[in-house]
């Protein structure tokens, strides 16, 4: 079946290191996305006409452009247009942050819009100041809704970063291909075992995180 190849030499460690490369890029992009997304989401909630239109356009671009196309645009297009030397890693962090920020901003906007107006009015009636309203009433509720959603964004980020192999970064899929090529003579069935393990590795990486997200969502449902 080809599972023996995995345990030959350093193959398993190489696969894990490959997954590490993808993970590193996804974690960096996820952090940037969450931070920028919170800021942009709050700006969207302000409902300023011009700013709102620009942000809507940005969201719409991200909504309909596949991440793969964005990756090509930055990696091939920007380098061609400006002559700048962007490494594949930098290009992928830029693209995934660009995508993730839009997703996060939309989540933040949705959460803010989901807070019933009665919450603001009741707080005001109780004599809270504007700062107190946000600090004690609105922000705690938003954080409870946002944390599961942001965790979910991280798993989506991990899944999306598998695309980096298409612009030549050596990550887990590329390592898998190399291992299969190296063992083509000795084990012609290696492809099944190796790709099954890659499949499983991704599942092990994402499943606990999405479970956590679901658990928190259920727990904090009011």
């Amino acid at each position: 079946m080809g599972f023996e190849v995995i345990f030959k030499g350093k193959n398993l460690i190489r696969l894990l290191a490959g997954l590490g490369v993808a993970m590193k890029i996804s974690i960096i992009s996820a952090l940037i996305s969450i931070l920028l997304g919170i800021v942009l989401g709050m700006l969207m909630a302000l409902k300023r006409p011009v700013l709102g239109a620009i942000l809507r356009f940005y969201l719409e671009v991200v909504r309909i452009m596949p991440q793969m196309v964005l990756l090509f645009l930055v990696f091939f297009g920007v380098t061609k247009a400006t002559g700048a030397n962007i490494t594949a890693e930098t290009a992928s962090v830029i693209v995934f942050s660009f995508w993730g920020t839009a997703e996060m901003a939309d989540l933040v906007r949705g959460c803010l819009a989901g807070i019933p107006i009665i919450q603001y009015e009741s707080s005001k009636a109780l004599g809270l100041s504007r700062l107190q309203i946000y600090l004690y009433v609105i922000i705690p509720q938003i954080i409870r809704r946002l944390i599961p959603l942001s965790i979910n964004l991280i798993t989506r980020m991990i899944k999306t970063t598998s695309l980096i192999m298409m612009i030549g970064i050596v990550e887990v899929l590329k390592v898998a291909q190399q291992i299969i090529e190296a063992n083509r003579k000795s084990d012609p069935h290696a492809a099944f075992g190796v790709f099954a393990v890659v499949f499983l590795l991704y599942f092990i990486a994402c499943w606990p995180i999405s479970r956590l997200s679901k658990y928190l969502e259920k727990k904090w449902e009011n």
Binding site: E60, P66, Q67, K80, L163, L173, H189, A190, A196, W207
Partner: protein, 219 residues
């Protein structure tokens, strides 16, 4: 940007566009079918099948399409199951999409308020009438936004087909950039064709969402 180059590339992109759209929509149809069947299995709690569906949904929701396609296209032939690139693309997309559709449709079915079921029962509807006349229409309305989001997501996912050497839009763009180095024109056409593919769906989706929303009961 050179208009002559663009017009000479157009037929190539047109062909790739048709292929991408074709496989994409076959995959989506398959995903919807799998989603409906699996959601019903979950909703009616059919003993063994329920466990299997749960495993399938978790497995495919937590892995990227690229990895799934590599497994189907390069992994399965090693144990004797050979599939062509087109079939692999459609089936891969269908399996990935099926897991997402299952979740959307199931949550729609479960979101129908209990009082609806109880009222229908007290009015004397039997189980079949209850499901077809009361639960299904309302569940569908609730599921529509999720289904539309999934369709757009799946159409975007078609961009990884080039990894299994399907001559799709991404493949064509990459090929042309490699051959002639007309990066600007190739990328421009790539973006144009993806807009052509997704913008109508996005607009139609928002329209459909608005159309179905008013049918929600009590909202």
């Amino acid at each position: 940007m050179n208009a002559e180059i663009i017009s000479s590339y157009l037929p190539l992109y047109g062909k790739a566009f048709l292929l991408t759209v074709q496989i994409g929509w076959i995959g989506i149809a398959l995903a919807f079918l799998i989603g409906v069947i699996c959601a019903f299995i979950l909703f009616f709690r059919i003993p063994v099948a329920e466990k299997l569906v749960k495993c399938y949904v978790e497995l495919f929701r937590n892995t990227p399409l690229l990895v799934q396609l590599f497994f189907i296209y390069y992994g399965l032939p090693a144990i004797g199951i050979k599939v062509g690139a087109k079939v692999c693309g459609a089936v891969g997309l269908g399996l990935l999409g099926g897991s997402y559709m299952t979740e959307s449709i199931r949550s729609g079915l479960e979101a129908v308020p209990v009082i609806q079921t109880e009222s229908a029962r007290s009015l004397g509807l039997n189980a079949r009438q209850l499901f077809i006349a009361i639960i299904l229409p309302q569940a569908f309305t609730i599921s529509v936004p999720g289904i539309i989001a999934n369709v757009i997501f799946l159409l975007k996912e078609t961009s990884v087909f080039s990894a299994i050497s399907l001559m799709d839009l991404m493949f064509t763009a990459k090929d042309l950039i490699g051959l002639y180095y007309n990066t600007t024109e190739s990328l421009f056409l790539l973006v144009v064709f993806y807009i052509l593919m997704l913008l109508p769906v996005s607009i139609a989706g928002s329209f459909l969402e608005k159309k179905t929303r008013f049918k929600m009961f009590g909202d």
